[in-house]
């Protein structure tokens, strides 16, 4: 069982979020489920997903947003700020 490198997983997650911008809101657990589906169980686990998300938000490539629940999104300007 070869674990996927964190950066590769982070890249894949980023693409999922970016490609579905405006169509789907991702929660951390949705990204985890989708990642496990994509790479296969045994190659990706919960901790690795947490690490990949941490990587993405620490670099500011994804940001957390709150609309009733917490979601991960590509940074953009807030509508309410206008």
């Amino acid at each position: 069982m070869a674990q996927v490198p964190v950066m590769e997983l982070a890249e894949a997650m980023y693409k999922m979020v970016k490609d579905t911008m405006g169509m789907k809101k991702w929660k951390a657990t949705d990204l985890q489920k989708a990642s496990i589906e994509m790479f296969g169980e045994g190659n990706v686990d919960k901790q690795l997903c947490k690490d990949a998300i941490k990587e993405l938000v620490n670099n500011g490539r994804l940001v957390y947003t709150y609309f009733g629940g917490s979601f991960l999104e590509v940074p953009h300007k807030e509508g309410a700020a206008n």
Partner: protein, 399 residues
């Protein structure tokens, strides 16, 4: 900073009358020097006049790397009240038990005076130090100053909310475990869950040292850790007699009020049937010099309470009737149980479904089975009443 424009506030002024503290008075005092506080007065007066709110929720603002701690707010009257076009709240993780040096308080206030409205809520219902009202571009500078001073942001959104506790052993003789130490440990242990929201909804942990439950964890924490004992109430009989002599009507005020009906007073001796005691603290609270919790102390773990938001209010249910809470905390079985619950709730919970609602939906029996706990008679809605667990083996025997 100079405040250029004053607003007439006849409606708000009403709230300064009377003997009690007034938030209007405090905002006015800040408004002398702070333009944000000043515009807030103007906006509030207009809202009171029109009976209409002028705030918008924001969902994006925060500090880099964190998904919680900042609650975005904007006004829809930003042209009229430009100083509060942004009015974000920051939650700052309070120290366990809310103990501060005056220097720490001054540091917090200085940071907030320099970067925000100067208005605080010490403390919010979440337990946090609440900084009310700042602009997006001030968030990172505030965060930098806070962390330099040893503070961190608290929780918001679908994360572990800032854990909070009663003052416990620091001030209170009833504390059955060290709430402050445990809360400090939990805050550090769950840093990832606190700052990077990954749950279906919020997850609050509150720690009370005894069943008096001064942080009301039984009513508003998803996980409540409440101190208790499993041996006998400690009794100092001469002191009990002294209470009686000094006018305490032990039968009326204590025996008859005991929900376990386990007390008996014959005028000289107080007998306690400890096996029926519900650990309600009433007798101990009424005669604090004579009675005290037992010596074999620990905590009861409860799950599932919440205030009404999406659905109605819930109280907690007992999950673990007794567990020792002792250092080293990392060896406790509690963490595995908590992570099992979180895994299940993350896997099966709906968006915005609190864990208590989740348990109601799937059933306590199924929940216990999934997290690996045996049902016990202590898991009841009320003592001596309906357990809401089905004991399947009983059914099999009967059939």
């Amino acid at each position: 900073m100079a405040v250029d424009k004053k607003y007439a506030t006849p409606l708000l002024d009403e709230l300064e009358k009377g003997e009690w503290p007034s938030f209007v008075k405090e905002i006015k005092s800040s408004a002398e020097t702070n333009p944000m506080a000043n515009d807030l007065l103007g906006l509030l007066e207009q809202s009171y006049d029109e009976k209409k709110g002028h705030w918008k929720h924001g969902g994006i603002v925060g500090v880099m790397g964190y998904g919680g701690g900042v609650i975005g707010r904007y006004t829809d009257l930003s042209e009229k009240f430009p100083n509060i076009s942004h009015f974000h709240t920051m939650r700052v993780n309070q120290p366990s038990g809310w103990f501060y040096t005056s220097e720490a308080l001054r540091t917090l206030c200085d940071i907030w005076d320099a970067h925000g409205s100067g208005l605080t809520n010490m403390h919010g219902s979440t337990g946090d130090i609440v900084f009310l009202g700042t602009r997006t571009e001030e968030l990172e500078p505030i965060f930098k100053k806070l962390t330099d001073a040893g503070f961190d942001l608290g929780g918001s959104g679908s994360d572990v909310r800032t854990p909070s506790c009663c003052c416990g052993k620091a001030r209170c003789e009833w504390a059955c475990y060290d709430t402050m130490a445990l809360t400090h440990y939990i805050t550090n242990k769950f840093q990832d869950e606190l700052h990077r929201p990954a749950f279906p909804y919020k997850m609050k942990l509150k720690m009370s040292g005894c069943p008096n439950d001064c942080v009301a964890s039984v009513a508003r924490a998803d996980i409540s850790i409440i101190g208790t004992w499993r041996d006998e109430i400690q009794v100092d009989m001469p002191k009990v007699r002294e209470y009686a002599k000094n006018g305490t009507d032990i039968v009326k005020e204590i025996v008859m009020m005991c929900p376990g009906k386990c007390l008996d007073w014959d005028g000289t001796d107080l007998k306690i049937d400890n096996s029926s005691c519900r650990h309600c603290m009433h007798c101990i609270n009424t005669m604090p010099k004579a009675l005290a919790p037992g010596k074999d102390k620990g905590a009861v773990i409860l799950v599932g309470s919440k205030a009404p938001i999406v659905e109605g209010a819930l109280l907690s249910s007992v999950l673990v009737p007794f567990i020792k809470i002792e250092e080293p905390f990392e060896e406790s079985e509690l963490w595995e149980l908590i992570e099992n619950m979180w895994d299940l709730w993350c896997e099966e919970g709906k968006n915005r479904e609190r864990i208590g609602e989740f348990i109601q939906r799937v059933g306590m029996g199924n929940f216990l089975e999934a997290v690996g706990l045996e049902p016990q008679p202590d898991m009841v809605a009320h003592p001596r009443e309906n357990p809401y667990i089905f004991y399947e083996e009983y059914f099999e025997e009967g059939e």
